[in-house]
């Protein structure tokens, strides 16, 4: 079985071509997110944050030396490239799949219109016209009511970010859902869910208070599937939207 892989790699090696990685497989957003963390631990040091630190390899441009298919990429991750500084990686198949998903997402983000704006202009729009810091937080600035976006560029694609801004209800993730609870006394409590188990729920409320509720003391309890964020459809021009998405993609977290 192993010998089957060699001719394919050898062929690409011999041709010396840089071949964009073709879209072959539909990946899940959870794969991309898992892949981003694996990338940071396993690949970042050599390939760099933008995936272009190795000459001749540029993940954002889909440029590779030795692979053309996803399967090739899996094999390179598993076996490394003998004679180069690319080592074998002992991660399981799910992790390898996540890495490929993330590497492909870099290309998707870079080539999408949404990710081709101006990050500096995007920052001004984000903090000004968009009033995004009213709910979100970036690098210690803004509110904690909505998710902190300090590393959002490392874990989300341009496509996803654009969709979140235009149609928040369609893209809200489970970890960002809002709880609406009514106590037996009739008090209504809403906030972003932080944790939940069979008996209790923890949340951060609109005043940034951390609260823990006992489910047996609640009259009603709903995990909302809609987002409390308004849609920005029609509020930004497409150029402004691209600037904001590009700014968000530039947010790689606290190093």
């Amino acid at each position: 079985m192993r010998t089957l892989a060699i001719p394919a790699v050898a062929l690409v090696l011999a041709s010396g071509l840089s071949i964009p990685l073709a879209a072959q497989q539909r990946y899940l957003s959870s794969d991309v997110e898992a892949g981003s963390r694996l990338y940071r631990n396993n690949c970042f040091a050599c390939h760099g944050p933008e995936g272009n630190s190795i000459p001749g390899v540029d993940f954002r441009r889909g440029q590779f030396k030795r692979v053309s298919t996803d399967d090739d990429l899996f094999r390179v991750i598993v076996n490394g490239v003998p004679g180069t500084s690319m080592p074998p990686t002992s991660v399981n198949d799910a992790a390898r799949l996540a890495l490929v998903a993330y590497i492909r997402s870099l290309h998707d983000s870079a080539t999408s219109a949404a990710g081709s704006g101006d990050a500096a202009r995007g920052k001004i729009l984000f903090e000004g016209k968009g009033t995004c810091l009213t709910c979100h937080r970036v690098n210690g600035k803004g509110s904690r009511v909505a998710p902190d976006l300090t590393e959002v560029g490392a874990i989300r694609t341009a496509e996803y970010l654009e969709r979140s801004i235009l149609a928040p209800n369609e893209s809200i993730l489970p970890e960002h859902r809002v709880v609406r609870a009514v106590t037996r006394q009739g008090a209504v409590i809403t906030g972003r869910r932080l944790n939940e188990d069979t008996h209790t729920i923890q949340l951060i409320d609109q005043d940034e208070h951390l609260r823990s509720l006992d489910k047996s003391e609640l009259k009603e309890y709903t995990l909302l599937t809609t987002s409390s964020m308004p849609s920005y459809q029609g509020k930004f021009s497409s150029a402004e939207l691209a600037d904001i998405v590009t700014y968000l993609l530039s947010l790689k977290g606290v190093e």
Binding site: R26, D93, D197, H199, L223
Partner: protein, 545 residues
Amino acid sequence: MTKPILMTTFLTLAAVPGAVFGQVTWDRLLHAEREPQNWLTYSGNNNAQRYSTLSQISRDNAKNLEMQWVYQARSLEKFEATPLVVDGVMYLTEAPNTVLALDAKTGATFWVYEYRPSADARPCCGAVNRGVAILGDTLFMGTIDAHLVAIDAKAGRPIWNIQVGDPKLGYSVTHAPLVVKDKVIVGVAGAEYGIRGFIAAYDAATGKEVWRFNTIPGPGEPGHETWTGDSWQHGGGSAWITGSYDPSLNMVYWGVGNPGADWNADNRKGDNLYSDCAIALDADTGKLKWYFQFTPHDEYDYDAVQIPVLVDANWKGSPRKMMMWANRNGFFYVLDRTNGKFLYGTPFTKQTWAVGLDEAGRPIRAPNSSPTPQGTLVYPGVQGGTNWYSPSYSPRTGLFYISTWVDYYMNVAKMPAEYTEGQRYTGGAPRSPVPTLQRGPINTWTAENGSGEVLAVDPNTGEKKWQFKMTDVTGSGILTTASDVVFSGGREGFFYALDARNGTMLWKAALGGQVASGPITYRVDGKQYVAVAAGHALFTFALRQ
């Protein structure tokens, strides 16, 4: 209520002085039910019902349970061990392969034996151990580098140590051995590395191999025809949970794991025997007496690595020797354990890979349910409707209790499968919003992820009598007692006492770490204890006095 029960217990104990404190002979193991104060085997006794006749802790007083002592492990691995208790001494293992003798009443340590596994060990899913077996004054432990070690139960010193498989090829032993007569029986893990699995019996005195049953038949052996090409050589079929034994039939029962590669079956056309089977072996020779395959040509990693639970009861009005089995594939089965005949089967949780079972119990596969490179949505997910966590059968309620993953799915992507020695050989990636081995991000749980429950099933009808629902899933074993109390836990870190008749919660303790072990109960000096590992510690409880 408490006082009279304690008095009765004391009088009973006083009436049989000197009944214990001897070697754990085969006769004692054979009749473990005669000494409910002890927990002599992984599942409590040979029929593996994980049912105890102790009744001091009852439905009425379970609310008065309180912590007695805690053993804090140094290991941060998952704590999957079931301890043994022999005449007031608890034998516990801590990951990866440390054995401890503790005072079962106080938790004080008598001795510690630390086995250091080779760096070549590569257990697929955690460097874990699920416990020891005992015979005479000797404990037996399988190790993650595929050794079997005999240890002096009094001194905590090794007596013999043999290698049962090559850890560099992915072989390991994670389960508690099973003692039958003068033999110690173990199976190997490692299907994710393309091992060829086996179950083997070793002489308890010397460690010499007495018999070996290859779970993947080689050329010339029956069942070999269910593999294509040389796929059998890396066909998996590991056996990583303890079996059970019927002395009346002299049969050892064991569950066999998935075929390799897990999610890419292109190279292994056929049923791939004896992967995903319940097998019955002659206890003296290891010869196959019968098999029943739950998931032929498995493409989902639906190991039949569950505890074979043996039940003698009426079936359709006549007494029958049965085997009850809630399988990782989502179906609950009742088999005739004299011959492996299928008596009954029904899904106990949502499953989409089969449209049902035929008259012989063989699944009828659903169309378009095979893994594809693009990903295929399948219920249950890779951890199954249940997994290795011990179920329980209570002869009092007649119910079978299952730790169940409800509405749980995977999106399984098929990938190339190429065998390389010592490397993973799985051929795919199952993705699920539910983390596989431990609780993941704490706030991602939604109804779409599914949930966990303790499920009580009437084995005669498949009817779900009650469900105790949890938000997160559960990897906990289940214990039932003669006072109709069910003990179990879950991944959220709660440990529960439930009413065995209706699932009402009687008591709970927040242990702060997932329960991924099987609870046990025992008695010392007239007091009934319940012990369970959670997080990185073992907790014991008894009634407040």
